[in-house]
Amino acid sequence: MAHPIAPNSWHRNREGLGIWEGRGKVVATGVGTSPTARRWDERPETSLGALTIIAIRKAIEDAGISPDEIDGIVLTPESTTGVSNDPMSPAPEGFDQVFKMVDFPQAGITRGDIDWILLNMPELKNVEFKMNGPVCMSVALTTAAEAVSRGLTKTCLVVRGWHNLAGRYYVGQGAAALNTSSGPGKYGGIWGMPACATTAMIFEEYCNKYGKSHEMMAPFVVEERRNGLMNPDGFYTQHRPEMITVDDYLSGRWIAKPANIYDNDLPIQAALAVIFTTPELAAHHAQKPVYILNHAQTRPELQGVTPTLAEWEASSDKMGRMLYEGAGIGPEDLSFEQMYDGFTLFHQFHLEGLRFASRGEKRGYALDLYQTDISIEGPNPVSPSGGNSGNGRTRWWHHRDCILQLQGRSPSQIKRKAEYGVSGAHMPNFCDALIWGAGPD
């Protein structure tokens, strides 16, 4: 069954809205993360659905509450950004022996589904509020924040899982696997643009404008891997616990120069569940509440087929202004920065839009900042979670770690006092982002 998405009136997508009405009325407490895998091995117990159930049960346990208390779910149904099975493709043999099935067989395999979750988690018997947060966990998080602040749900699960089947991620996986880009996809692919090409072009433009170079990205990418390897739930920690060096990065093979293999995040299987509730109800949760102080959205306003540097800068600047206005804080208040990084080459657009660690600079300073101490021990922690680059493609490690940092229990806990954080995804001109606080003010 299709569930609604947030109405436009819930979006905070323009300046001048003032302090967010929900500020201090919504908190995050429990966090649950599934095991990771590079690809699905086609066993029911390692499927997207199974991982989602694991994550939800861990989040509830982490919060120290009863499943009876959950009265809402916001879920991101899309579980890949690549090309995958048609929703009506049959499930592998045996899947229906382990899980109850809904009206389309790919639920729990290549697509998340609220009804599938409820059917297979009978302990969630009081869920009344159901809403989808499409495309990205960041959309699910901002949707759930609004829903709790409006009293539509009191204790809400926010969920996103990822699958990764055999096959080429952007060409076709599973039943959609093709040897060529024939079919409907061929028109868009006539120039042969890989996924990172647009980002690579705009990064090249950025370097040309500000006199920077790709080599200057190395400290950031290396630091992200270091931070990711502190996370016991991350893909690299669990499956490839190998640190990378600046030389590794500089010798990484090009995908679409100036984007190399390390600038592209690794598709994986994983699921995350987070619990949002009210400050009053959080009083009996096991974990310290982390307050959501504001959220905001940007959407593309393209002038041509592909975005430009100017458009990305304008959009991420607007995001920074909207976030600070609604939260009532400024860039100097941020204890750390956790904007999206997959691809790594657009992370600095987010960072500069927020003016994080700016000494008065507006643009063109992030790669210089990367040459300073951006570690978790330093004064300006950048992406302390390690993000997608350090943990695998989920678009949610950085959100998750904002909660953990402000609860004081991140595996890569920053050394300075964690009071305010920011996270958002995905593109610099298509982003949902949140300001998180250790307290309500």
Binding site: I190, P194, E205, A256, P258, V305
Partner: protein, 139 residues
């Protein structure tokens, strides 16, 4: 005419809106839309002017000259169709008439591609009986 690609090239699939553009390529004409109301020139093909939303426009032939706005050198093919072509240079070109378009930069050194440098259109006829592909090369 030269062929700039080696692989099994995906062929564009014109729609009623884009058909005049692709018909023009067969005659080596790079056609753009010009708004009859505000004179805005735009690419890609659309049913209305993106500047003033007027629905009346004419097709005008571009000079085929422009400057390189940005680029990326693709070394990992987007799909197997492009595998034999790597490395190839994906380009964003600002046309003399104003619009910006995506294409490939051909007959250029991937290690020495000047952003802001002049480029001109060249045509690949060995794609389809119905159209030619517009690429760009340093001028």
């Amino acid at each position: 005419m030269p062929r700039y690609r080696n692989g099994t090239q995906p062929v564009p699939f014109p729609t009623p809106v884009t058909q005049p553009f692709w018909d023009g390529t067969k005659q080596h004409k790079l056609l753009l839309q010009k708004c009859s109301a505000c004179a805005h020139v735009f690419y890609y093909a659309r049913t209305h002017c993106p500047a003033c939303l007027a629905k009346e426009f004419e097709w005008v032939e571009a000079s085929g000259r422009g400057t390189l706005y940005s680029y990326t050198v693709c070394r990992r093919a987007q799909s197997p169709d492009f595998a034999e072509d790597t490395p190839y240079i994906l380009a964003a070109v600002t046309l003399e008439e104003g619009p910006r378009m995506s294409s490939l930069l051909v007959d250029a050194d991937p290690e020495n591609v000047p952003i802001g440098g002049p480029v001109r259109v060249v045509w690949d006829d060995d794609v389809s009986a119905d159209l030619a592909m517009p690429y760009f090369t340093p001028a």
